[in-house]
């Protein structure tokens, strides 16, 4: 089963942390730090599987991760997820590609679709939304759904429900999002008038 799903940036700051097994807060932070350590010093060319090491709690685990620009997406799975068993510790082992790896891919692509070219800032400011998307994909440590369209449909439906509940209090937010979704013709983003001074005529006769 999947023990944890972590997203952190190149400096180790967590952007999302979801644990499917209970650890206390200090342990959680330690796991994030340890994972960052293991993953950040890996060469880009070697495979994306890391075996061995002991998750706090004594169980063996594997890390399956992908590095996208400034973010690491890591799935910590326990060894039962793959039949290979635990091999030598510390040394990095190439092992087969995994269905979990594909799941990771789907997760990233779903985020991309939901946020429109997702970047780190999106994850920072909309952590709760990321959690909700993840909840549609992985449940209780097991992969629930890998069909991207299905996931997006469900997430959209839930968001709509929430919005419809918001009532009057949500009106400003709705207005903002309405404007955003407005299909305006392509407007020039940068109107550079140059360095002309606009003279406002003084027209007392129009007072």
């Amino acid at each position: 089963m999947i023990k944890a799903i972590l997203i952190f940036n190149n400096h180790g700051k967590p952007r999302l942390s979801k644990f499917y097994e209970h650890y206390n807060e200090d342990t959680e932070q330690q796991i994030i730090r340890e994972t960052f350590h293991l993953v950040s010093k890996r060469d880009e060319n070697v495979c994306n599987f890391l075996e061995g090491g002991l998750l706090i709690g004594g169980s063996d685990y594997k890390l399956i991760y992908r590095h996208y620009a400034t973010l690491y997406f890591v799935f910590c799975v326990d060894s039962s997820e793959s039949e290979l068993g635990i091999l030598d510790l510390i040394q990095v082992k190439p092992c087969r590609f995994d269905t979990i790896g594909y799941c990771l891919l789907v997760f990233v692509e779903t985020l991309d679709k939901c946020f429109e070219n997702v970047c780190e800032l999106d994850l920072i400011f909309h952590v709760d939304k990321v959690h909700h998307i993840l909840a549609e994909m992985v449940m209780g440590g097991m992969v629930l759904e890998t069909n991207m369209n299905e996931i997006i449909t469900q997430v959209d439906a839930q968001n709509k429900m929430e919005k419809s509940e918001a009532g009057i209090a949500g009106a400003p937010a709705r207005a903002v999002s309405a404007v955003k979704n407005m299909n305006l013709p392509e407007m020039p983003k940068n109107i550079n008038i140059g360095d002309i001074s606009i003279k406002v005529p003084n027209l007392p006769s129009f007072k």
Partner: protein, 794 residues
């Protein structure tokens, strides 16, 4: 988008903090504000506060004061608040907190909510952090949801059920009927959940496994549908239709087909189909193929299918992706013993992998190559292995060296080849070989009398080139000492002659003696060799005398002792010198750790120099080339106990070249420790079958010595004759069997048979003994084996 503008503002504020201290300050202020807000009863922005708290929690700051707020939010009727409340519950609550029990009721209500998304929230939370009590309470609800008509809910309920089963094993029974019926679903998500649930149930309980065997035809049907069906945009991943579901079903089939003929038969066709139809150019296809291979190898499949599976693994070996090659080799390793011939076909590729860059791939390739060595390919394989040895990473050297030795011992086509191979290994990786290699090699050399000349010449040349590899130097010194006369004679059929003078030889030995690279053991060898030469050369005896006397004052006590004793040989016992230093007899193919009980013909020689030695001596290479590894008790060796050849059961003459012997063996003949008569000791019956009883009692003689008495009696109606006992013990334990009192057991327990076994366990390993009983009763020969794991009185 949830209206989380306040959340974003807070995040901005936190991010703008430039130092850790500033950040902590901001967070503390925010937390204080949140706490204040929580205390107010009704608040439009409750969900925002909780969202802020969750963000703070993710950064690692304490957030436990939000737990009660989560409970309140979950109970709220508004969806947005429930959503955040459940999210908070998953992050902040767990079994150990009391607050978690409070949400049980809310979850129960929400599970029956009219809105499917509320239901799904409840299911998700229960699956994530549900404690055992919560699971017990809510299991019936989940079971009800498994039967609902909504696929979305069914899918989630299935995985929730898996969590429940993991937490509370007994509840598995509850879900069996609904799990069974879920298999007829069309929706892939639900099917996936169902298969996971069934897998979990089967793994937990063998009875459930039996019941689910009936589903094999249904699973086969589903798989067939997936494999043959055309392109389906919903589930397609790089040309494979829903690989996740395929993989899950294959795993379930593996569990169901294991050890069961009928189920395996039902799957055969399907597995063949999947194996042939799946596209292996993409990694996705390879994943499915790999699962198929694992399943085929694990169930009772027919041989054609197994060959197909091995061939798929062979194809993986040629794949460019290193990961896949590694996986393939790991799987081949598991089956190399059972499907040896099939794997042999891919030997070439495996041997090529020895040259791979990656250390783990190399290791796997080495293990596989060693397993594939056989009499027919020994020469070519050894060539490859020796090339590998010269360039392999240091951590693999010891393993490679010992593997090569084993292979050479088993399949050596000729003695000369064997000696050459060992010498090659010693030259390349001498530092990584095991200690017993030196005595093994010496024994091999003495047994190959026709090659003495060749060997000593070769070793001499090796010694001249390089004296850093200690095992090689030790063997070389020993041989030069023994066969120095052959060396000096100069001529040799096998290799080109080279003129060696006495001075050259003595120079070489002296270099070894004086070199800082030589260990004390090696110098001991060299000194003894020099001494032996005194009877084999004619001119330079004085030189030898002077060397020996110099070392009489050496700081190393061992060398000093030897030198002093040799000096004595020169002075007072000169008449004995020739006899003492003459050529060693051929060393018996016997070792201390392995012996037999067929002593009715040859009584044990008590005066054998059974001096207790620490190291093991050689495993006897049987003429047929089969190594009998009796000593590997703990590995459950299936080799029959072989009666020790030639000299029965005597402790072998210690090799003077034994590296760790306390010096001067020639002059120091110790008797073995005498077994004392046994005082009555606690007995235990170790074997009782067909009227034959064998009891065992033991007594500790000394710190590591032990005497075991085996008593046999016969309670059948007919006499038993030719009763023999054979025994084997772990490697480092030394065993001597004394002669049995008799070998006939009259009927009705007329008389008993006793046999003494003397054991020495210097390394204090866990003592086990395997005893083989064989006798003739009423004209038929009976053989049986029993293993004794615990000794009474120990």
């Amino acid at each position: 988008m949830s209206p989380s503008v306040p959340l974003q503002e807070m995040i901005r504020a936190i991010r703008s903090a430039r130092t850790q201290c500033e950040e902590r300050g901001v967070i503390q202020r925010e937390c204080a504000a949140i706490r204040a807000q929580f205390r107010q009863t009704d608040n439009g922005g409750r969900s925002h506060n909780l969202a802020k708290l969750l963000y703070v929690h993710m950064l690692g700051y304490p957030a436990h004061f939000g737990q009660m707020e989560c409970v309140r939010m979950i109970a709220s009727p508004r969806y947005s608040e429930k959503r955040v409340g459940y999210l908070g519950a998953m992050m902040l609550l767990d079994e150990k907190q009391d607050a978690s029990l409070l949400i049980t009721n809310s979850i129960k209500n929400d599970l029956s909510h009219s809105n499917q998304y509320v239901q799904s929230l409840a299911l998700c939370t229960l699956a994530c952090m549900g404690s055992a009590e919560m699971c017990r309470d809510l299991a019936p609800e989940i079971d009800r949801l498994l039967r609902s008509s909504n696929s979305y809910i069914k899918k989630k309920a299935a995985l929730c059920a898996v969590h429940i089963v993991r937490k509370v094993h007994d509840l598995g029974e509850l879900f069996v009927p609904s799990a069974r019926s879920l298999l007829s679903e069309k929706n892939h998500g639900v099917l996936h959940g169902a298969v996971v649930l069934i897998t979990e149930l089967c793994e937990r309980s063998p009875e459930t496994l039996e019941r689910f065997r009936k589903t094999v035809p249904d699973l086969v049907q589903i798989m067939k549908g997936l494999v043959i069906s055309g392109y389906s945009p919903d589930h397609d991943v790089a040309g494979v239709s829903d690989p996740f579901l395929q993989v899950r079903i294959l795993r379930l089939l593996r569990i169901l087909g294991r050890n069961n003929e009928a189920a395996s038969d039902a799957m055969n066709d399907l597995l063949a189909q999947v194996a042939t139809n799946t596209d292996s150019t993409k990694t996705v296809g390879n994943a499915v193929l790999y699962e198929t291979v694992l399943t085929v190898l694990d169930i009772k499949s027919e041989s054609g299918l197994r060959v197909l599976a091995v061939n798929i693994l062979g194809r993986f070996l040629l794949n460019n992706d290193r990961n896949i090659r590694y996986i393939a080799m790991t799987s081949l390793q598991k089956i190399v013993l059972t499907d040896h011939n099939a794997v042999q076909r891919h030997r070439g590729t495996i041997v090529d992998c020895l040259k791979d860059q990656d250390a783990s791939v190399k290791r796997r390739a080495l293990e596989l190559s060693l397993a594939l060595v056989s009499a027919s390919n020994i020469r070519s394989m050894m060539k490859e292995l020796l090339i590998f040895l010269s360039s392999c990473p240091p951590e693999l050297r010891a393993q490679a060296a010992s593997g090569i030795f084993n292979a050479a011992e088993r399949y050596a086509p000729s003695k000369r080849w064997h000696i050459d191979t060992i010498l090659h290994v010693l030259t390349t990786a001498g530092g990584d070989v095991r200690d017993e290699t030196v005595p093994n090699l010496i024994q091999l050399i003495t047994n190959t009398s026709e090659l003495h000349c060749y060997t000593v010449h070769k070793l001499y040349r090796a010694l001249l080139t390089d004296i850093s590899q200690q095992p090689l130097v030790q063997v070389a010194c020993w041989c030069i000492g023994e066969y120095g006369d052959l060396l000096l004679k100069g001529e040799c059929q096998e290799t080109e002659a080279v003129q060696v003078t006495e001075d050259d030889v003595l120079d070489a030995l002296e270099i070894v003696l004086q070199s800082h690279m030589s260990t004390p053991t090696t110098r001991g060898f060299a000194l003894t060799a020099t001494m032996k030469l005194s009877t084999r050369i004619t001119d330079n005896v004085d030189r030898i005398r002077s060397i020996v006397s110099i070392y009489g004052s050496c700081i190393d006590v061992e060398l000093q002792q030897r030198a002093v004793e040799y000096n004595a040989l020169f002075k007072k016992y000169d008449h004995m010198r020739a006899a003492v230093l003459e050529r060693m007899p051929v060393i018996q193919k016997n070792s201390l750790g392995q012996t037999n009980g067929e002593l009715s013909e040859e009584p044990m020689k008590e005066s054998q120099p059974g001096k207790v030695k620490q190291e093991e001596t050689a495993l006897p290479p049987q003429p047929a080339g089969q190594v009998v590894d009796l000593l590997d008790l703990l590995g459950g060796s299936q080799e029959p106990l072989q009666p020790g050849s030639s000299v029965a059961g005597s402790a072998s003459t210690q090799l003077t070249a034994a590296p760790t012997s306390a010096g001067g063996d020639l002059l120091d003949l110790l008797g073995g420790f005498e077994p004392t008569p046994l005082a009555p000791a606690p007995t235990v019956t170790v074997y009782e079958k067909n009227g034959v009883t064998l009891t065992l009692s033991c007594e500790q003689q000394s710190e590591s010595g032990l005497t075991v008495t085996l008593t046999a009696s016969n309670s059948t109606d007919s006499d038993i004759s030719g009763f023999t006992l054979q025994a084997a013990v772990p490697k480092s334990v030394q065993l001597q069997m004394r002669a049995p009192s008799t070998d006939c057991l009259p009927a009705h327990g007329g008389a008993k048979l006793t046999q003494l076994v003397v054991l020495n366990n210097p390394n204090k390993v866990n003592l086990k003994m395997r005893i083989r009983v064989s006798y003739t009763c009423q004209g038929s020969v009976v053989q049986d084996m029993v293993q004794v794991d615990s000794f009474p009185g120990l």
